[in-house]
Amino acid sequence: MASSREIKRRIRSVKNVGQITRAMEMVAASKMRRAQRNVLAARPYADRMRELMGDLTARVSGPATKGTLLEKRAVVKNVGLIIVTPDRGLCGSLITNVLRRAVRFMIDQRALNHGVEVFVYGKKGRDYAVRNSLALVGEMTKIGDSPRIEDILGVAVGAIKGFQTGRYDELYIIYSEYINTLVQRATVKQLAPVETPDAPVSTNQIFTYEPGEEEVLHAVLPRYVETQIYQAILESSASFYSAQMVAMRNATKSAKDLVKDLTLTFNKARQAAITKEVSEISSGAAAQAE
């Protein structure tokens, strides 16, 4: 059995770890709330955008979609993939889930003979892409907790341009979808060709488009895709902090359990030492009495 001094030291160190994870849990909890607010705040824009798109695409179809982000290409040669990961770890299985989903996606694409090029948001995904020598064409790290849409456009625009110029025939994004505090799901979403949302029923009005339907469509489409990427990043951030909060809560609980266990062991060791000492004294006394 370890000496009581040894055990005492371990108790102290586990307690310290527990204090740190508890602090991290609380920090993650407050950042999670902010990230959730960001997701909610960004929703009206995305919703209005979708309505607008539904109305527009109902009017423009067929050959007019050529060269736009709506264009469905008969032969797919290359696809662009955007992977969204956090910058930091300590968030349970979140990163693994996203990366595993990405790997499965790439295997599926290769089976179809599609080349895959990768864009990455977040340090963890970047490191993974570099380590596994994926075809990394764009990356952005240190995004921060409340990015504005301009902050994240660099990579997004690269991917969109890639589709417009025909370098990619399809565009996808993989990110951690925020379902609730306990559940985050690695999700694949198709960005381009843009899947047209259903036209809203309310707008049976006839719009005037200035300068024209097609010009408006050409301007709206890239923005629509950018918005989707932005939303994915915000959701990933909310997912990250929830996962981190839960992971840290579990760590704190484990630390507590461990301290309890160690304290028990410590007390037993102390008890054993006392018993031993008493029996030594009494046996010594007995020997003298003889």
Partner: protein, 137 residues
């Protein structure tokens, strides 16, 4: 009859209120929107967005976006938007100078276009920052 104006950016809802008139810089020129305007969907360019409510005109600087007008509801999906009195003139001036320098030093056509777009945006911000809310006669 008032109309409802909502200005949203990708980040959040900036403005949501009843207004009397909206003057917006579209790609084809400035338009004034009054209640009961015909349904319109248009592209906005950098410029001054004027919102008139109770005879007071509040200028905003907008860097681009889309505007949808539907009977008495106007929705502006803005790239970025700032109220004139929220713009820090000194800082806007500095940004303008930086943009100008970058334009001078641009090597490729792409850099040139980017710098020019940025410059135009900063010029608009400066211009709008100097407008103060004005009472309309």
């Amino acid at each position: 009859m008032p109309m409802h104006l909502e200005i949203v950016t990708a980040e959040r809802v900036i403005f949501s209120d009843e207004v009397d008139q909206v003057n917006a810089p579209t790609r084809d020129g400035r338009v004034g929107i009054l209640p009961r305007h015909e349904p319109l969907l248009t592209i906005l360019q950098p410029g001054e967005l004027g919102i008139i409510k109770d005879g007071v005109r509040t200028p905003y600087a907008i860097s681009g976006g889309f505007m949808e007008v539907l009977s008495s509801r106007v929705t502006i999906l803005a790239d970025t938007v700032e109220r004139a009195d929220e713009i820090d003139e000194a800082r806007a001036e500095k940004s303008r100078r930086v943009a100008e320098e970058r334009k001078q030093g641009a090597q490729t056509e792409r850099d040139m276009a980017l710098a020019e777009a940025k410059l135009r945006k900063e010029l608009v911000r400066l211009q709008v920052a100097r407008m103060k809310s004005a009472r309309r006669q």
